[in-house]
Symmetry: C2
Subunit: 345 residues, 2 copies
Amino acid sequence: MKHVTMEFLDEGLNLIDQRKLPGEVTYFRARDYRDVKLAISDMVVRGAPAIGATAAYGVYLAALEYSSEPREDFIPSVKEACDELASARPTAVNLTWAIDRMKDLLDDNADKPVDDILDIVLARAEEIAAEDVKINREMARHGNEIVPAGAQVLTHCNTGALATVGYGTALGVIREAHNSGKGIHVYADETRPRLQGARLTAFELVEEEIPATLIADSVAGTLIRDNKVDLVLVGADRVAANGDTANKIGTYGLSELCAVHGVPFYVVAPTSTIDYNIDSGEEIEIEERPPEEVVEINGARIAPEGIAVYNPAFDVSPAENITGVVTERGIARSPLRESLAEFKE
Amino acid sequence: MKHVTMEFLDEGLNLIDQRKLPGEVTYFRARDYRDVKLAISDMVVRGAPAIGATAAYGVYLAALEYSSEPREDFIPSVKEACDELASARPTAVNLTWAIDRMKDLLDDNADKPVDDILDIVLARAEEIAAEDVKINREMARHGNEIVPAGAQVLTHCNTGALATVGYGTALGVIREAHNSGKGIHVYADETRPRLQGARLTAFELVEEEIPATLIADSVAGTLIRDNKVDLVLVGADRVAANGDTANKIGTYGLSELCAVHGVPFYVVAPTSTIDYNIDSGEEIEIEERPPEEVVEINGARIAPEGIAVYNPAFDVSPAENITGVVTERGIARSPLRESLAEFKE
């Protein structure tokens, strides 16, 4: 990627504005944690790992803001801001994961001088961001093992450099396979309603010169049936202990079609996406987003006034449809509950 | 429907311009058969039954145009125009069906005076159009039998009054079930890339005050899995002798998800959509449409330059996924080859 997803500079977080890509490459500047929350909820930045790192920087901005408050209010105020940031989007567990790490850090260092705490908090945010790139590269290395030479790979939504701090999860594996000279070709689902596939994945694929074809989401089924897809790679917003995986709406249907036709279906996600606290996908809260995402495109209305809309952002693919989960620690394979448990810290 | 799909008036065919709905209700006037061909290929008018009737009027406009030619050139010229009209779109068999009926009519009456032939041709076009409405009402009556009270019905693309001369196929059944007081609710797939569900089906549902919810195509899978859909009703562009059915891209995936979850999946189509000349869906030519349909919405580009696009307009649902085919002569049920054969004239 020639562009960076996020950059912390001069006490503010610059985020490439993903709402405007690929038409415009502009940056959104988050000057305080409220801006960060808005950036996450309005999807200036999206993708589970990117959201996690963004939120960590948001905690630092909150700490900076409250550093001039009376000392006894400092930690409670920052922790309140943490809770607000955590509520920006409900499904991606990386958000809670990053916030929880920051809250633990605040607790562990509560008695230190405020300036020291600020340094520690910023260092941790930068560590989370740097770690994400490293983790992505590890996932890509493991994931590349399962990509056959010349493979036709189908992917859904955007799981690339833009969905992470850098490199990508599922798209990171694709990038690695391409760079290792395997001669792969990618089918990218456009991914309605937000069109992350058409806008972001296609943008990254064109930029990296990876051979790729964009399709409407509905085309995937007939490609899978006609043996034109060797492998499906998707990201994840939350993986339950049993392997059930919440990911962008439409992923479930793909997983089912792969199961019917015996096409390998892999989830690529860092272990921070695994939520060992929930037993199965039934417990995952699915975010419902505004109807405008469906009835308006680029501000122009496409559907009549008066029609109701149901717009869930995610669905859950059952563990039995998932061939494996590629993490930075290796590939968890069926039975997923047991193999995922091995990756628990 | 408060608006009519087509109306033949003052030696021209007025077609509601479905490219502009629901934002603008305007009419496209086809003054000759070339305009009719354009209207079909550019999807001013779409939907297999509507295309058939439109083409029949196109043959009359060709006859009118060539009626001043030397007598010996008249029939051959009109038949050439027939072939041109038939080539406007390849998948919907109703187009060929209507054109073939018109060609037979020309042959049968070739020796009559030109003015008589004109009268006969216009009468047949009007008969095909009138017949379509009658057939739709018959299908709706048969189809209503399979709709349970309070059913959650999912449909794909537009199969309503706009896809036909009036009333509709799958949406005709929905209309009938609603009008008979069954208290149904409809999920309408938006149907990318042309958004016939969002633009046309939602428009008809709102106009008729049928309780309905618009969804992105990718949402259907999770609804079916979660037992929120009791019945799927779709139209067809061509049904092979064995029951394999070509319909709008995305239909195949729905049929497979219904098969997996035991949800009844019905095709609603007049017998003119059944192509007894082809044994299975493998022989159906699938139209590939321009990439602009995917990468542009309302003229605005949504994907980066340089990305390839695959844009098939249809896919094929295998007979084994189809619970039944609702026709004007009754419902063909599995085994479809045998039951469809009974409807052959």
